[in-house]
Symmetry: C2
Subunit: 541 residues, 2 copies
């Protein structure tokens, strides 16, 4: 027997329709690439998005066609999303920080028909133009006055949509229709395309609106520093309009001074970004003796939150840090580190220790850890295993079947991360499966070693990798990038680790490099590093 | 093209599974009908619910079979819900405040196979026993010691589940499978059955978890005074486990002293009930000079919030009042009166005026007003029309097809309420369509008149109804129930209205009665009242 309830397909157009009806005057405040600040409302965004839809329809775009963007966070980028998604086209965000060659590869793989981009990326697009096999239309986020010369035959975005009708049908398709396409960061290999559905995007939105997840309301002002091309700005491009919070869009300027200015003038209450952004902000605050009186909550994820960032926000600026873990394949939010009830009265050190962990899954996400045979491991906060995930907004595979079947018999997706989980569901990432160091049959967590090593003032960055060892199979080598102007010694670094890790985890050697290679989302490129040290011989070997 | 995302059916068993995994030690604190307080956890509830499932399966209950409860809010009632719903049986909550005859009629209409009930209702069940055509099993919320004598062959709940396996498959069916059955209050006619699906219940849960809706988190303690048999305790039986908040269950005792005791000892942060409950609590607080230091938010709905209740909570006790509107057919939450951004800095009187309105729909609910021809009316905060609603958790019809097709061409459901909506979506109920007084072709809002009249200290309750008038078709008659010991005059009452309503809305007469008839959910029974005064001749006629 079926329930007798309305059929109300979960399609993302309903989000902006709701914002337009209920919060029409709430604002999107954008810093343009030209530097000036532009204010628009959800009512404006609704109209502009409808005009984008008509521009696409008139350009021959149909249900399922891919429309790509190479764009900073801005109200025009938002209009491109809703305009494309509303008519059932697939909005494909491309990460402009990838190598131009990789951008072309991804655009061809996705078979993008339209490419809409910020002026900043014109040189890239012009450079790869001849390699783009499917793009027919180029649109640049500009008006007649700010439009750059180009050899692409591109149209300025504002003129592309100007004067178009706002009359177009949105959302008249099943909720599992494809909606968005986003490739993974490519940290562990070639980027793979994750194809979100309308349903998964709407459910991810509802998941993140929970109070213990992001929990914003109409009265919040939210600054997504995390880019819309990086796993959907952690869903904020959907969840903010859903509740009607103001959005403050930083455009191309993510340095400490620029972000501070927006936090301050726009009285931002919630913001989100990867750790490196916060390092820049914190430096700026300290150097200029500034405070953050309006900011209530900062969501930090994408890689582990370093303790000094956590402590600075919590102790110096009284901002609640919510550590988040997720991946492109999880839409992306998987866990959030809001303090659980049993920790509310703990002392500060215990609370900070808890907040360094990656957090707990909200309703809608199921996590567990398994061994190499796929058997469940206990949630005891100690045992590490492969982290697998199941839920309302989790990938079931990759675009065009790349990678084949990625779900186990129970429908769980293997994250490629190694973690432990405690009895309250708090998850701690200890490594990536590919980066784990296997010494004498036991696992050494490269991330633990790195987190401690970067606590040394003379260390800017550190990476632990497994190097061949005749007796132990692998032993850790620690690669260190010194802080500017510093020359730490091997002994300095090993002393930093002493007592904080098991003795047998101590790296067999420490080497110093000018720069540790990073990927397009700022994560350490261990693939490159392992390649660089593939012939390295440990002194103990 | 479809997205490549996991298939994760929205079934309510996932809610309790999540609570069991992530918040196993959070508590359900119940006041038993015997008066004592019992504490259990979500981990306990999970086990007990599984045992209920096995008791039902062993009793021959199958997918789609109806399992009825006549129960106060308690952890055993919760276990009955999840136990039945988990295996795809339909949990049917019956309102014990209905006439026994009506209870029997509803149980027969629903074809309930099992009836699980609180001891309080044994006399009712024994009285109707011979009229119950389908019930095969009677279970009483009791253990061996507290089990009452009965002639039903009933089993005590604790013994019914004792020792049973917790191994049973939950949720292995499509998400639009029927999940719960609840009949409307019967204010305007015979109660009609609303058949919730798993999907609609889960989506309603996610809707209400939004910060500007109820927005509870794991750290909250929530006291649902609103009964589980009254439109699903406004979803709290599902949303609290979903986030892991403590639940404080008042059992049969909803008087001011008992509710205060629980609010205080359990440090309740969020509570919810109809206005009459709060009148009793406020009297108790005033008489005993008590405060509410822990309570942050009170959700009030089911009928309009009187200004004195609103002001007392907000001004005397610093508790945030959230006025809510909903109906059985909307699962039930449709609007919530969290202050919108443009009201945050308004003066207190403006804010209180806003909070007396029924509130704004959260994402997931669409509201509009239409005229009798079904044409859209403007959202100008002035124009009144029939309120129609569409959304993720809104009924599409009634059990067994009663009432036929209830959706218009665009899929909207006619609520039977008359309302206006302002430009920010704030909805104000002005009447029920059936209660509207039509004078000279124009509408007079009976609710407005009543709300003002009850503001008079000598008035306990008031009801305005339309009486036949030869010239105007209908004119308002105001029926007044005096406050205990008071004898207000017609002039007292009319003076109270003067200047606060349009002159032509002034009732043509005021009559006094010992008691205004109420229905099973405490609402004025205007059907009965109109019947009582059907031959009344107005002095102006
Ligand atoms: N809070 C966090 N702490 C530690 N690691 C994190 C955190 N958040 C995200 N990560 C890491 O980032 C990964 C997800 O990143 P993303 O989806 O952007 O691409 P990627 O995994 O880096 O690239 P690829 O899958 O192509 O190799 C997670 O699997 C995890 O390893
Ligand atoms: N905050 C509120 N202010 C005014 N009226 C309200 C409010 N909340 C609910 N109501 C009224 O209660 C109705 C829903 O009540 P419910 O579903 O319990 O049954 P009923 O409508 O009273 O009974 P029936 O549909 O059988 O006649 C709404 O349609 C509305 O008229
Ligand atoms: Mg990855
Ligand atoms: Mg009704």
């Amino acid at each position: 027997m079926l329930g007798i309830m309305q059929d109300w397909p979960l399609t993302v157009n309903k989000i902006l329709e709701h914002a337009n009806r209920i919060n029409p005057t709430r604002e999107i405040i954008t810093r343009r690439v030209e530097g000036n600040i532009v204010r628009t409302t959800y009512a404006d965004l609704f109209k502009q998005s409808k005009q984008v839809s008509n521009a696409l329809v008139d350009g021959g775009i149909k249900l399922g066609d891919r429309v790509a963007t190479l764009g900073w966070n801005s109200e025009r980028h938002m209009a491109s999303w809703y305009g494309a998604m509303g008519i059932g086209a697939v909005l494909h965000t491309i990460n402009p920080r990838l190598h131009p060659e990789q951008i072309a590869w991804i655009a061809n793989h996705a078979e993008d028909k339209v490419l809409i981009f910020d002026k900043t990326f014109l040189p890239i697009v012009e450079a790869i133009k001849d390699h783009l096999q499917t793009v027919e239309t180029f649109v640049i986020y500009a008006d007649a006055d700010t439009m750059p010369e180009n050899n692409l035959g591109a149209v300025p975005f504002d003129i592309w949509i100007d004067g178009r009708s706002t009359n177009v049908r949105w959302g008249d398709f099943p909720e599992d229709t494809a909606c968005g396409l986003c490739y993974t960061s490519g940290t562990t290999g070639d980027p793979k395309g994750v194809l979100y559905s309308h349903r998964s995007n709407v459910l991810h939105t509802m998941i993140t609106m929970q109070r213990d997840a992001i929990g914003m309301g109409a009265n919040d002002s939210v600054l997504p520093v995390v880019p819309m091309f990086h796993a959907n700005a952690w869903g904020l491009a959907l969840s903010c309009p859903a509740v009607g919070s103001n959005m403050v869009m930083p455009g191309a300027q993510m340095d400490g001074a620029s972000i501070y200015e927006l936090l301050d003038t726009e009285k931002v209450t919630i913001t989100a970004a990867v750790p490196t952004v916060w390092l820049m902000l914190l430096n700026h605050l300290q150097e200029n003796d500034l405070k953050l009186p309006h900011l209530e909550k900062v969501i930090i994820g994408g890689s582990a939150v370093p303790e000094r960032i956590l402590r600075a926000f919590e102790e110096d600026y009284e901002v609640d840090v919510v550590h988040a873990w997720g991946m492109t394949e999880t839409s992306p939010l998987g866990t959030l580190g809001t303090l659980p009830p049993h920790m509310m009265d703990a002392d500060i050190d215990t609370r900070m220790e808890q907040k360094l962990k990656q957090g707990r899954p909200p309703f809608g996400v199921e996590l567990k850890i398994v061994n190499d045979e796929g058997e469940d491991l206990p949630n005891d906060g100690e045992t590490s295993g492969r982290l697998v995930v199941r839920g309302a907004a989790i990938a079931a595979g990759y675009f065009k079947g790349v990678g084949g079947n990625v779900l186990d018999d129970n429908g769980f997706f293997d994250t490629g991360d190694v973690a432990n989980i405690d009895e309250y569901g708090t998850m701690t990432i200890t490594d990536r499966a590919k980066d784990v160091i296997k010494s004498g049959g036991e696992w050494i967590s490269s991330i633990d070693i790195e987190n401690i090593a970067v606590g040394h003032p003379k260390v800017a960055n550190a990476a632990a990798i497994g190097i061949y060892h005749p007796k132990w199979d692998e032993r850790p080598l620690l690669v260190v990038q010194p802080a500017p102007g510093e020359t730490p010694s091997k002994e300095d670094v090993l002393a930093q680790l002493e007592g904080k890790i098991a003795k047998w985890w101590t790296p067999d050697d420490v080497v110093f490099v000018d720069e540790i290679p990073l990927g397009a989302t700022g994560k350490i490129n261990k693939l490159a590093l392992r390649n660089q040290f593939k012939d390295y011989k440990l002194p103990t070997a």
